[in-house]
């Protein structure tokens, strides 16, 4: 049991619940507690899921990989059908009463498990035919998610695949080639009609944030103002004026880091970044300690996923990365993403627990 990891995750999740509350309580009394209650619920369920995932030996979980993969593909297909719901320009959700489920979030964990299973089976011996299979397995869910369209999650999947292929022993020239193909793909997507104009604008707005402060780049500008006005020590919890007066749209989800930055200042935001660093260090260490390649690859997948999401999300809030709708793991409001993150961390704890046997 990796206590350092568990404590860091708990601290991040608790901060998340608090900041979601701060971002949603509203400027007037009585404060809105609905987001607070739900996020606390998601974290509680997530912790339970993490325990369950930890308890079942990851080598037995591997046997479920293809079943889960099939279920994932069904989910991604289903969400594109009339069963799915559209919101904020993307067909990405199933509605269950008051809750919404986002299959693309779960796809991240399922893809990690599936790829780890296949790559461990081939034990570093990847020729072009096998690479093609791997790309097919990864590309199918990516294509479906791109149709929603949800470029952010696709980019997370891409980084998972790249990270796992790197450690699994794919030749470096293939990695380089794949990276190039990926870049060309992103440019191609930006120039195609898959994304709507406003989505493309959002993605490229960070390149020139002064261009139009009330339009496309409003988010980028307001989120930087929020983070920067926190200063060294922050304006105090529930006292961030940008946050409390709701100048930053989507603050409880994609822009939750701005609430941390404004209200807790550099002291708080650096601590949060530090906690992410500790979490990633512990995952990286578990990857090294793992008794087999399967465990290592599971950890690498989770590490790639978290590192990319943290970098992209926090970088976006600070204006150095394009705006894509991906959550900040453990901090952003959202059931699907919270459950996926906890489940993924469960895989890591699982590997850590069974490193000697």
């Amino acid at each position: 049991m990796d206590v350092v990891l568990v404590v860091s995750v708990a601290a991040l999740a608790a901060t998340g619940v608090l900041m979601v509350y701060s971002a949603t309580r509203g400027p007037t009394d009585p404060p809105d507690r609905s987001f607070l209650v739900r996020q606390a619920l998601f974290v509680t369920i997530g912790a339970a899921v993490m325990v369950v995932v930890t308890l079942v030996d990851y080598r037995r979980l591997r046997d479920w990989a293809w079943t889960l993969y099939g279920a994932m593909m069904l989910g991604l297909l289903g969400v594109l059908s009339p069963l799915g719901q559209q919101s904020k320009g993307a067909q990405a959700w199933f509605g269950f009463g008051a809750f919404q489920v986002q299959p693309a979030e779960f796809a991240k964990a399922v893809l990690i498990l599936t790829l780890a299973a296949v790559l461990a089976m081939w034990a570093g011996d990847i020729d072009l035919r096998r690479l093609a299979v791997l790309l097919g397995v990864s590309g199918a869910p990516m294509a479906l998610i791109l149709l929603q369209p949800d470029l952010g999650t696709v980019l997370v999947l891409v980084s998972i695949v790249l990270g796992m292929l790197l450690v699994a022993g794919l030749r470096l020239r293939y990695i380089v080639a794949l990276t190039l193909v990926g870049l060309i793909g992103v440019v191609g997507i930006l120039n195609s009609n898959v994304l709507k104009q406003y989505q493309k604008d959002r993605l490229t707005a960070f390149l020139d944030p002064g261009r139009d402060t009330q339009g496309t780049t409003y988010n980028v500008t307001q989120s930087q103002i929020a983070v920067a006005s926190g200063g060294l020590t922050g304006e105090g919890l529930f006292d961030g004026r940008q946050t409390q007066l709701q100048f930053v749209p989507e603050q409880q989800t994609d822009f939750i880091f701005t609430a941390v930055g404004e209200e807790l200042g550099f002291a708080g935001a650096a601590t949060v970044l530090g906690l992410y660093g500790v979490v990633m260090w512990r995952i990286w260490r578990t990857a090294q300690l793992s008794r087999d390649l399967l465990g290592t690859l599971l950890c690498v997948g989770v590490l790639s996923m978290l590192a990319f999401q943290v970098f992209e999300n926090v970088g976006m809030a600070m204006g150095i990365m394009p705006v894509t709708g991906i959550p900040l793991p453990l901090l952003s409001y959202g059931g699907s993403s919270t459950l996926t993150t906890f489940a993924s961390l469960g895989l890591v704890l699982n590997v850590h627990m069974r490193r000697f046997r």
Binding site: G231, Q246, S304, I320
Partner: protein
């Protein structure tokens, strides 16, 4: 791939992750530590707004405390542009609002509403007025139907009210929306702001003319300033600071409303009664305009100041339309109602100027009170003969004023020219300057004119400024004839009615030239939070300078002026027949100023009672005929009013001679 490669490759991944997190730390440090101050300014601008609430303007009272300019409540219908954006079908709402306004008697078009909403002068945070002075029923109708008219509001606003209508319109002036230039004058520019404890907004009102403008800083109240915090939707979340508005100071005028109203009415009636008739030499009496000034010679206070034609300041309350303004100002200059002729009309003074020529001659010793000259009806200046309407026979200086002998003054003017080596070439001009002519009196009203006292130098400069072809016709030389014309107030002599009233005030009070004054006191508003109704300051008389008027100079002039109404040969004896001269002796002078191609301008200047003067009065009626015919009856009526005599019907007053 060797067996160690996963370990090596994990290290690569580790380096990538560490550099990503390092990048985030660096950016975080930059934003929150190095760039925080400038971003904090932006955050402040994001959320803090100040809203100004105009304070009620001070009132304007007459000398006896009667309210001439008041404030009243206007019911205003507004639209909040920000809220309107959130209305699903704003076009239908605007249509419905226009229909409703029209149905309640406020004809409004959708385009009018849209124009108002697009007007940059309004603060985007505050509701924009789309209809003003709506009836109370509409006010109630809309108040009760807020849900049917989202973003539409109703409010009560303080605007100017004029209980006496047009009375003293020129003197009072009016209030209007501040212009960009005025705003810059009052506030300075963003680069060099001027501190102002009564800050203006782009939609503030400001005094545009008259006392409203001269005493703007007293009349304007201190706006209430509310500093609020708004959220991203511009909704007010909380009030950070609030200073309530403080009403402006009241202004008490020196003007007596009774005299003012009488002067306006008498002037208007006289102009109306003679308009369209013919003078004895057959010229049309157009009688388009006139002015009356009544001063207190003891302190320079303006008791009344009338100018006809006039306008109704009520038309400016909600902003006058360009069409209406053009309609009022589109005619001839003589019909322009916005000219305050008492201070802006410049006229040849004609014979009313003679006391100044007499003063010049007496004070230089050119003549004494006994010097006689035989008026044979014309004056031969050698190269030119100057005519006059009648022959007065032998006259001394007093008699020359009573009967208004032109020849006596031609002789004086000509002598001043011939003997300029002894008396200087500006002897008459200096006398005119001494009595305050040729320069503004300094009355605290804007755009006062200076009039003109011609000099040889002035004549040459005018000629030099002409284009060559006009120089060929003109002549820069000052001739004896220029002096002769000037001696009877013709030629290029120009005075304003106020200047002339001030001349006669100085003759009345023994030579003191006051700066005329229109405001007696500045008072605190009855609603002032500190000292309701308290005196802020009393305006003291301002002496410009003293004209030496020893008895040997003053007495013959006064004697002559006294005879104008008292002596059967006096030029205004007839129009003052029946006036109780024993109770209220009058010193006066008629004037008939020639205007090329038009009927003469009719002047009458007077002060009374002669021994202890309380009033100096001047009336001028443009294109109306002899001074005694048109202007004298107006002044007689005023003298009857202020002396408490029975008012004579103007039709019973006969005209005099010139």
């Amino acid at each position: 791939m060797d067996r160690e490669s996963p370990r090596l490759r994990l290290s690569i991944l580790g380096v990538v992750v560490v550099s990503l997190i390092g990048t985030l730390f660096a950016r975080l440090w930059y934003l929150q530590v190095m760039a925080a101050p400038e971003y904090q300014v932006e955050a402040q601008a994001n959320r803090v707004r100040t809203i100004a609430e105009e304070a009620p303007r001070g009132r304007i009272l007459d000398a006896k405390g009667r309210v001439i300019v008041d404030n009243r409540t206007s019911l205003v219908v507004t639209v909040n542009p920000h809220d309107l954006q959130a209305v699903p079908d704003s076009a239908a709402l605007k249509r419905r609002l226009a229909e409703t306004l029209t149905r309640f008697g406020v004809p409004t078009k959708v385009s009018t509403i849209e124009r108002r909403l697009g007007d940059k002068q309004y603060n985007p945070l505050q509701p924009v007025p789309v209809a003003i002075d709506v009836p109370e029923e509409l006010f109630l109708y809309l108040s009760e139907r807020a849900d049917e008219f989202p973003s539409v509001g109703v409010r009560r606003e303080s605007v100017r009210a004029y209980p006496y209508g047009e009375t003293a319109a020129h003197l009072l002036g009016y209030v209007g929306r501040i212009s960009a230039k005025e705003l810059a004058d009052k506030q300075g520019t963003p680069e060099s702001p001027k501190p102002n404890d009564k800050p203006y907004q782009p939609d503030s009102n400001i005094g545009k003319n008259g006392v409203e403008r001269s005493y703007e800083d007293d009349l304007r109240g201190r706006p209430g300033i509310k500093t609020v915090e708004v959220d991203a939707q511009n909704r007010v979340v909380r009030t950070i600071d609030e200073q309530p508005p403080v009403p402006g100071h009241d202004i008490q005028l020196t003007v007596d409303l009774d005299v003012q109203r009488f002067a306006e009415q008498a002037l208007r009636d006289k102009l109306d009664s003679i308009r369209g008739g013919r003078t004895r030499d057959g010229r049309l009496r157009a009688a388009p305009a006139g002015a009356v000034v009544v001063l207190d010679p003891n302190n320079g206070d303006v008791v009344a100041m009338a100018s006809v034609p006039t306008y109704n300041p009520e038309e400016f309350v909600n902003g006058i339309s360009q069409t209406r303004y053009d309609q009022l100002t589109g005619g001839a200059v003589s019909e322009n109602p916005f000219i305050n002729r008492a201070i802006q009309g410049q006229y040849a003074p004609g014979s009313t100027f003679k006391p100044i020529t007499a003063y010049a001659a007496l004070s230089h010793g050119l003549i004494d009170r006994t010097t006689t000259y035989n008026d044979r009806g014309s004056y031969d200046a050698g190269d030119r003969v100057f005519g006059s309407p009648s022959a007065a026979g032998p006259v001394n200086v007093a008699r020359s004023l009573t009967v208004s002998s032109d020849v006596f003054y031609y002789w004086l003017g000509h002598r001043f020219y011939r003997e300029r080596d002894v008396y200087g070439e500006l002897a008459m001009q200096d006398a005119a300057y001494a009595f305050g002519l040729g320069q503004p009196t300094g009355i605290p009203l804007v755009d006062e004119r200076a009039g003109n006292i011609p000099t040889p130098e002035w004549k040459r400069k005018i000629w030099e400024s002409l284009p060559p072809e006009e120089q060929a016709i003109g002549d820069p030389t000052w001739y004896p004839g220029d002096n002769i014309n000037m001696s009877i107030g013709q030629g290029d002599v120009l005075v304003t009615p106020l200047q002339l009233a001030n001349v006669y005030a100085a003759l009345a009070n023994g030579g003191t030239i006051y700066q005329p004054n229109v405001v007696a006191r500045v008072l605190r508003s009855p609603n002032d939070p500190v000292d309701p109704g308290g005196v802020v300051r009393v305006i003291e008389p301002v002496v410009e300078h003293q004209v030496p008027l020893p008895p040997e100079i003053r007495d013959p002039i006064i004697q002559g002026l006294r005879g104008v109404t008292a002596d059967p040969k006096g030029t205004a004896y007839a129009p003052f027949r029946g006036f109780d001269q024993a109770a209220f002796p009058v010193a006066s002078k008629t004037g008939t100023a020639e205007v090329k191609g038009k009927a003469d301008s009719s002047w009458f200047a007077a002060f009374a009672p002669v021994d202890a003067p309380r009033y100096s009065m001047v009336a001028i009626l443009e294109e109306s005929g002899f001074g005694a015919e048109a202007a004298a009856p107006v002044v007689r009526g005023l003298l009857e009013l202020v002396s408490g005599q029975r008012l004579t019907d103007p039709s019973e007053i006969s005209g005099g001679s010139e």
